[in-house]
Amino acid sequence: MNKKVVCLILGIMCLILTYGICVQIKTVNSTNSPISTNNEENNLRNEVLKAKEKYDNKYQELEQAEKQLEEERKNATENNTELSNLEDQIKNKNKLLGLTEVTGQGVIITLTDSPTSMSSNFLDLNDALVHDMDILMVVNELKNAGAEAISVNDQRIMPTTAIDCDGNIIKVNGEKIGPEFEIKAIGLPERFVTLDRPGGYLYKLREWGIVTSLEKSNNITIPKYSGVINFKYAQNEK
């Protein structure tokens, strides 16, 4: 009798374990197979790499052209205070717009998915992950605290920047970013610290199990926008 029960329990345990392993193997197979058997996929992959390389090359050319433009602008204006004034304005406004790299004091906020998501919170995984909306809210609070430049995982926040998700991948400026999320902001650090207040959004995130940190820094670098601003529909009013 006793033996039968033991056998039965063992049988069930083995069954569950086997099932678990099968699921795992299937998942791994479907997500992580660098060597594809499909020829067409390999070709496509090559094409993508080529397209990316072409883009990268052009991007470098563009950066050079931009440097040249800055120099020529300087050359053309250096003998005239009125003109060099205008040149200064262009430089400053490009910084504010997000077209040049900027440095200054500020904070770095990091958001990390809950490390316990795999065990204790198994059924409520969703709560323990960082979502696009969470990043949107934190960025909004930074703006409220007087941020002058912000980036999320080195994607510069622009007037046209959307933060959204495609399945479970978060996108900023249309570029995919993954955890952990690093949000940098330039401004008065003392004002940014208020983001950590009880009841604030970071506090809520921590209650959901997300790991957050906020660090003041005197030397923050925020990269420029890597895309292009292009007005197709809007025109300046005459």
Binding site: R45, E61, L136, N140, P159, G174, F231, A234
Partner: protein, 229 residues
């Protein structure tokens, strides 16, 4: 008999331990798999990735031509202060447009959100709509004539007021956006669109397409104190 049982239990224990170890390793592998890596992409993803890079190349190529042209112009015109000044003004105008410091017009949509007894509109609702509009390629946005610029915050102070650019605004909220009318509308109304969701929950939201939307400029000078020169 008793010895045999102990051996059995120990064996099973060890086997279970090994299995658990293998499983946790598997979990780790799955977790560490880089979802953004090209190596793991499937055909459909690869295709969209390819068109994505091509499109980005086109954009950046255009920008490159434009920049090269400007370099050329500066070179040619640097003898004349007048002509250089015109060039500088042109560049400034473009930058100001990007910053939101000019009045703009163009096709787009107008969204009107009205408070009802059961459903009040909060700052977060507006923030999400603005984000959806940006995703659909909006080039200029305003809420109750407050221009949304790069560092615009949308927050509520008490349950009663929404603050945009530090200015109090009151319901009804009128959001204007310039961009492709169809894209803008379908981003909000399409399957899972945010305005759809609001409507289903009983909110009062109206969308109007318009061939000629006018959006006012941001009135203050945008400046910085903490960005190093």
């Amino acid at each position: 008999m008793k010895k045999g049982k102990i051996v059995m239990i120990v064996t099973i224990g060890i086997v279970c331990f090994i299995l658990a170890l293998v499983m946790s390793m598997q979990f780790k592998v799955v977790q560490e798999t880089d979802i953004t890596s090209i190596e793991t992409m499937r055909e459909a993803e690869l295709r969209s990735e390819l068109s994505n890079w091509k499109q980005k190349y086109e954009e950046i190529n255009e920008k490159y031509e434009e920049t090269s042209k400007k370099v050329q112009e500066y070179k040619e015109k640097k003898q004349s202060d007048n002509e250089t000044s015109t060039l500088l003004q042109e560049e400034l105008e473009q930058i100001n447009m990007g910053l939101g410091n000019t009045n703009v017009q163009g096709e787009g949509i107008e969204i009107t959100l009205t408070d009802t007894e059961d459903n009040k509109i909060y700052a977060d609702n507006l923030l999400i709509i603005v984000n959806s509009l940006r995703l659909a390629g909006a080039e200029a946005i305003s809420i109750n004539e407050e221009r949304i610029v790069n560092m615009t915050d949308i927050v509520y102070i008490t349950e009663k007021f929404v603050k945009v650019n530090g200015q109090r605004i009151l319901a009804p909220y009128v959001i204007k956006a310039i961009g492709n009318q169809t894209y803008l509308e379908s981003a909000l109304l399409g399957n899972g669109g945010y305005v759809d969701e609001l409507k289903i929950s009983g909110y009062d939201v109206k969308i109007k397409k318009d061939k000629n939307i006018k959006i006012l400029k941001y009135n203050d000078e945008i400046s910085s104190k903490y960005i190093n020169n």
